[in-house]
Symmetry: C3
């Protein structure tokens, strides 16, 4: 009886719906992250081991750094579901990666938006966990951004390349920081838990979309005259 | 009297012999790992500092990652013996590294088999420690593989190269995974401790030898047409 | 009254003065480290995100590794002051980095000596914390050296380059090791806390200065004949 009442209660329905949405976003993001890892492996002419490892690294690297920095149990040691999702993604696309360059897949609008969803959800989760763990506001924002972008950075490091997030001039880490800041501000203002979770997530998605569709970005710090070096450095 | 009886007991003799063998394999593996680090340093035209650091990294990098992931005390903080073995190895071969390329030494059959022994022993130790620490089976296997191959990956990262284990197409991380899986299966089936330790170790050694001598390997995920890029990427 | 007496006491004045000097050195070192990070970002044609991240990494990367290895709370999670100093430094010099190469700034005598001060103070702090945490002498020295040079290594890794400390042939990690050894020796001999702190710091500063001004250094392990490769490898 209690269960029936609970299901009918609109608040509970909302909570369930949001919980499901959160899980969908986590899985979507993980798949998009894993695709970027497998594609990077293919472009660097790795073998299946490299593809699987890079896919896994992008998917859980940021969360692992978060847990190490906060001295909490590393999340996938107990529950490796997201690792398995990433590995399955890599194994699924590996055969196609041999036949043609999958850059187009990685830049597909669906994958790009899934990646933005992953960025948003992981930044929000990371910032929230850090604040709960007693981190200072600045540190919590940094941990949140690391949670979102750390995996991609590891992917590029293991591919012996300058991490893309450091030079592509898009709003990515910056969008993450905007969301982390919004989360801290709402949290400090005592906003309800749903607001603290979903508003920053939307902030990140909107900033990321504005960067992809309108070209919003951050300035370069490279010396302006030597434009010709750019291709060489990040080739 | 008790000691005498103990020594005569065949079970105890076996335990002592296996304990000694395990230690011999750990030292052999550490020396081989350190050689690969010092040789990589020489090839990247580093100085003695680079040779010593890379040798140490290959030797204890994987175990350090294992301990961080499992939130256990980092093993060499209390007992730095293996670090010292690695440093001594680097210092011993550094003078020769200046006179000629030591690639032939790193590829010498004795060094290759010592490296395989190191891989095998460290994967088995890592997987066992992870299972004891309550990691899920998948996570324990990952931690075990990281324990075995993590040091070599760090060596290549610090040499600004794509880690060899991600692209050389050999059974290496894969051999490690096979051993880690065997260990988990035997452990879950309740096999005796000696079997859980030594059978997976042999699995790794056999797979690794088959890869080195028979060319067994894993497929590439690189786009097939652009063969000419390979030399460039991993030069 | 008590306060007045305390201020007049010469021992207390010395303690205050040394405490202030220590803080000045920490800040100077952090600014110099951050400059090296921002300059590296500019040279690798990164954007403002890269400059800020690399500056922050050099400044707190070594201390973060120290805390992870010793399983202590990561120092900037609670108090992010040094991170903010590094970020402010990067933001301050970024506009200039766009107009001309700041290599001359990074090699300026004031910046070089501030960098040496940072190296010295962070090695001494790291070795001391490690000994207090019960690390073995060898491990404490390694942790101290990592505390001093780890940030610069991360900077170079994230710039996809072989860490400079591994190949430039200067006394840098070696100067750090000399200081860490002196600290352990004085600590083991029961010297007063001020001596244990400041003498090793001076040892590092002197060794570093001798390297910069007199060319003292460590030998290469590169094969001697192939000098022409050097430019290529570390270009």
């Amino acid at each position: 009886m209690h269960t029936l009442v609970a299901v009918v209660d609109p608040d509970v329905i909302l909570t369930h719906a949001l919980g499901t949405l959160r899980m969908v976003l986590e899985y979507l993001g993980t798949v998009a992250f894993a695709i970027s890892g497998a594609v990077a492996a293919s472009r660097r002419r790795m073998d299946l081991v490299g593809a699987v490892v890079l896919a896994g690294l992008v998917a859980v690297g940021g969360g692992t750094m978060r847990d190490l920095l906060l001295r909490q149990p590393v999340f996938w040691i107990e529950n490796p579901t997201l690792v398995l999702v990433a590995i399955a993604t890599a194994l699924a696309i590996a055969p196609f990666a041999r036949r043609r360059d999958l850059g187009a897949l990685a830049r597909h609008r669906i994958v790009e938006h899934s990646d933005a969803a992953g960025l948003a959800i992981f930044v929000v989760i990371g910032t929230g966990i850090a604040l709960d763990a007693g981190a200072s506001p600045v540190a919590a924002m940094i941990v949140g951004v690391v949670n979102g972008v750390g995996g991609g950075i590891l992917r590029d490091l293991f591919a012996a390349q300058v991490p893309e997030v450091f030079w592509n001039g898009q709003l990515y880490a910056t969008a993450a920081l905007g969301g982390a800041f919004a989360l801290w501000a709402l949290w400090a203002a005592g906003a309800p838990a749903e607001v603290v979770f979903w508003v920053p997530l939307l902030v990140i998605l909107v900033l990321r979309t504005l960067s992809l569709r309108r070209g919003w970005g951050v300035p370069s710090v490279a010396v302006v005259q030597k434009r010709e070096l750019q291709t060489e450095s990040h080739a």
